[in-house]
Symmetry: D2
Subunit: 342 residues, 4 copies
């Protein structure tokens, strides 16, 4: 049993963490902070948690986080880096669901996030929390940078191809579609129902913060730079990411076998049968990534379809998976979730 705290519990990754942790047999939820809503019962803001979470939101200044074994940051970018050193010094492990520790190159981070980084040395220590790549390091990490939602779906789809060296790494294309919860629980015109329902659009074509994160992750796998065109889109789903990935094959290969072999021991990556078209709803509410790989008309193009629930495998679920690994629990504890369909 570990004592767990959550900083920033009023957003979608926060409430999703609560949904998952509420039924985790090894977690004693100690504190959930919110500056704006301190004093309010968590279950008043999120009635879905009535009967599961009895805590009120605590003011960050009054929350005794250093007594926790683990603190999750479900905060906007730039918060975790202010508080992580103190927590680590107090012996508390940290999982940041935001982007503060994701990019190893501080200069790149500062350019894309428009802030000066508060603790460059900790970035070097942080482990990128994609278990399918970094499980061993996560096991012993004090500080885990939980991956972004798009980066999770895109990397899991490209990794088998890049590790095997069967595609041209200089001209990858990731056409990704996200549900609106990916924009967070923030009062913004663009995320209104009447703005985003029954419509579809691309955004950030000129450049999106997840581009350098994906490129960093793929370059590690490939041990060299990759060329990537990344176009995110907003689609009228609540939850779900669908990444459609394009690459050019440089030699003949059994793609289905390649993907199955790569993920055969992974509980949360499901390689679908040949010819499949995974739907986002097939992972709704679960920590699964489902992948299908295609070679249209037998040509030299490979098309990978990769779906996740952006709030689970793309955020809170992966964070719990990382926690399970860090504390030696079975990796699927509290994550053995049947997706909600329909």
């Amino acid at each position: 049993m570990i004592k767990v705290g959550i900083v920033g519990g009023t957003g979608y990754t926060g409430v999703e963490l609560l949904r998952l942790l509420a039924l985790h047999p090894q977690v004693d939820l100690q504190v959930i902070t919110s500056r704006a809503d301190a004093g309010t019962l968590v279950s008043q803001m999120f009635p879905s948690l009535r009967g599961f979470v009895d805590l009120p939101f605590s003011h960050p200044d009054q929350a005794n986080l250093s007594q926790c074994d683990l603190v999750f940051f479900a905060t906007p970018n730039g918060i975790a880096m202010q508080q992580t050193r103190e927590l680590l010094d107090a012996g508390v492990k940290v999982i940041d669901l935001a982007a503060d520790f994701r990019l190893q190159d501080i200069g790149v981070w500062e350019k894309w996030y428009g802030m000066t980084h508060a603790c460059a040395d900790l970035v070097a220590e942080a482990v990128y929390g994609l278990p399918e790549v970094n499980r061993a390091q996560i096991k012993t990490a004090r500080l885990v940078a939980n991956p972004g939602c798009y980066p999770t779906a895109v990397q899991l789809g490209f990794i088998p191809l890049l590790e095997a060296g069967v595609i041209d790494a200089s001209s990858l294309i990731a056409d990704a579609k996200s549900g609106v919860s990916g924009a967070g629980r923030k009062a913004e015109i663009g995320a209104l129902f009447a703005e985003s329902a029954d419509s579809f659009k691309a955004y950030g074509v000129a450049g999106h913060r997840h581009l350098p994160e994906i490129k960093q992750g793929l370059a590690r796998v490939k041990s060299s730079e990759v060329g990537l065109t990344f176009v995110p889109h907003l689609t009228p789903l609540i939850r779900g990411i669908h990444a459609t990935l394009y690459g050019k094959l440089n030699r003949d290969v059994d793609l289905q076998a390649l993907f199955e072999a790569r993920y055969k021991d992974e509980a949360f990556v499901d390689v679908m049968p040949a010819g499949s078209h995974p739907e986002t709803r097939s992972v709704r509410g679960s920590n699964k990534c489902r992948i299908a790989v295609h070679r249209p008309q037998g040509g030299d193009s490979v098309v990978v379809l990769s779906v996740i629930d952006n709030l689970v495998k793309g955020a809170a679920g992966q964070a719990v998976q990382n926690m399970n690994i860090m504390f030696g629990y079975a990796e699927n504890t509290a994550l053995n979730l049947v997706p909600l369909l329909p």
Copy 2:
């Protein structure tokens, strides 16, 4: 551990039963039938069940249901009544999620369902599976008629008022709204996305099959006939029923206290704080019914808001709750589900 079979597993109540039973520690799922899809893996039709359900659909004629301890019928109306006697005779308990055993008056049933009933005597034996009213009888029942979705939401909202005798029972109004999954997984024009998205309509104002079921249930509670106007509506949700109930108070009463007292021992009925407006999403994927009671401007009108997930408390979840009661398991076994929000 009991052996369980499902007849008719390709509809929404079927797949929802599978979602719930897959994680039930006392259930050994033996067989799932489908005439049209015999031989197909269940998880091929519903990829959300990959890794949870390994069975194929069996042809009804080959399925050895009599070896089960319990059989669920998740079939269209008129099927269960053909097969129930044989199963009961073989010592198998039966829960029918369709309407075959819901109405005690065979004449009324035959009028609304347009068929001749195949086993009137079994109707007399059948217990109406609304645990908040009939828990004791369910415990010893061989045959349970699982309530309809609208009837569950409407009855749970009116019951405290009728039992206490504080409203005029001759002029009840139930204005109910259902998500589209309530229409079932049938290929019908009216349930197409392009027909039912971004639109709202009433239907069946002249008469809906759930009207006599609700009236029967309320009359039992009241021990006399009730007058009810019931208007169902279709709303662009996947899951969810919202019943807005109207009554005329015949005396002053503390409505909030009345509701809280009635349901204080019920695990699956949550009386919200005074002034609340429950959202359907606050019960999405869970077996809860959430209720709020209002008295607008302190007048003599009472307004009850009652929400359920039509596929869970309105169908499969309530069926599992009934199963738990019938077999002596803790009532919330496999039903301790945190609603999926957002």
Copy 3:
């Protein structure tokens, strides 16, 4: 040809006015104001208007509204009352799409809107712009209070019954459902896609600002107070209001004939054939109100189903209809719109 100005053009009623006026052959659109977005091209904010509206938003302080023949206020409540006197004095006619001039009882208005009214005398002069009731007065009005969305749908549904005196006016019930655009184009958490999609809820059961407006309108028709329970709901539509109205008949009457007779000369009220269930999408983008009237099981309850597009007949379309009447144009000029279905 008249010169028209719009104050507050960045909300949904504003952009809808622009959609309609852009093709009005008698309207010369002079100015559209927005304090926050002055200088921005209207078509940059609303690309749907590219090629139809070439104006930029003007700062309210620079906008020469007094040169207009007519000014529409598509502003939040409390703005129009500050500026109307000056415009009227300059000979400009005014249509307020907000609520400033809707309630004749200033005390009631101030209670529900939480402000001191700035020009009580003008309220007395203002004509309530429901053409099906007040066409003659609108014709000669200088100042028109455009009705609210719910009040339009509810009044048009109850009017034939109240005028004919066939229902008990002391216990009316209006169960109304609105699409999310009714909340306006404001950055609010509750109107986010991820909050309001795939969910349904009531709100304002204790009291909604449209309640006194509806009661005032119905009382005028009835020439006496009415008793009304009004429960609004939020449903995941972009556009559309569906009002389900309940009354108790006090004598036998041919309801279908009654409604058809009442509206036989009305271009924008369509009484559907007996037994119909109008869908909100059947009026999407149009100025129609479609109504069906039912008497379930031949009892003494009457159920009226009334649908409008909240942004058209419930706001901008009705405003244009009023403008046409005020300036002597054919009432359906620029309003001869085929609803967009699907």
Copy 4:
């Protein structure tokens, strides 16, 4: 004034044709056929047309189509080719909204559509009705093959690049997303609300019928074969197609100027300002195609975003545009439509 008939008026392209033609000043709608619904009023099936279309559906065998000046086929594939010769012989012009006359290579057509073609010679005569490419031929055509929805969006996006020869034509990628109305008004499980709402998926990755149509169109423009990977997706919109197109630049070029020059005289193609991300709703209900062109991070990748309403520019609107051209009417007659936003 011309006499117009529609064969197959009960699908979405049929009802959309009716919406557009109802207000066309030069069209006298004579007959609308439907085998299954003969005798039913069109406005009974589609109440949105009440007051605009008074005709009943006629049985195909009783419909005197040869008296028309023009007949639209809004039928499933394989119907128009059975009836076109007789109509042409009678002097009637024909626009087929299905695929019977789209592919010049009969062998390719028969392979993808799984039928023997009934009139190969007429295929040779048929003009592909993409006005932005074939306006001159359409003007004098007797028989027009109205383009598919995806092909319209994809071709309009690639054409400027291919005509200018600035991209590698051997490795084009079209990642396209369609609303569910693209599946037609057919009772199919996959198009149910509860199946397709709140979910996103690719389909037909192995091969889609629009692939050869797009390749044929692009090859004509390029005067040589093109290599294309085409992945269609289903997204929970009613209407709308968003095509995201990827190409590799082979030389430096002012992309914005290139696109603006190509379409400067086209009423229905709107090249958005540099940096734009067109939304599908910005063309909802209108005949516009809006296009934006990007060069992410100044690299050698070009990304084109192209949106249409699949039922208008992707079907019925383009058919009316073709009709206008064929009969010498102003090209935007009855098509001067402001998109419905929100």
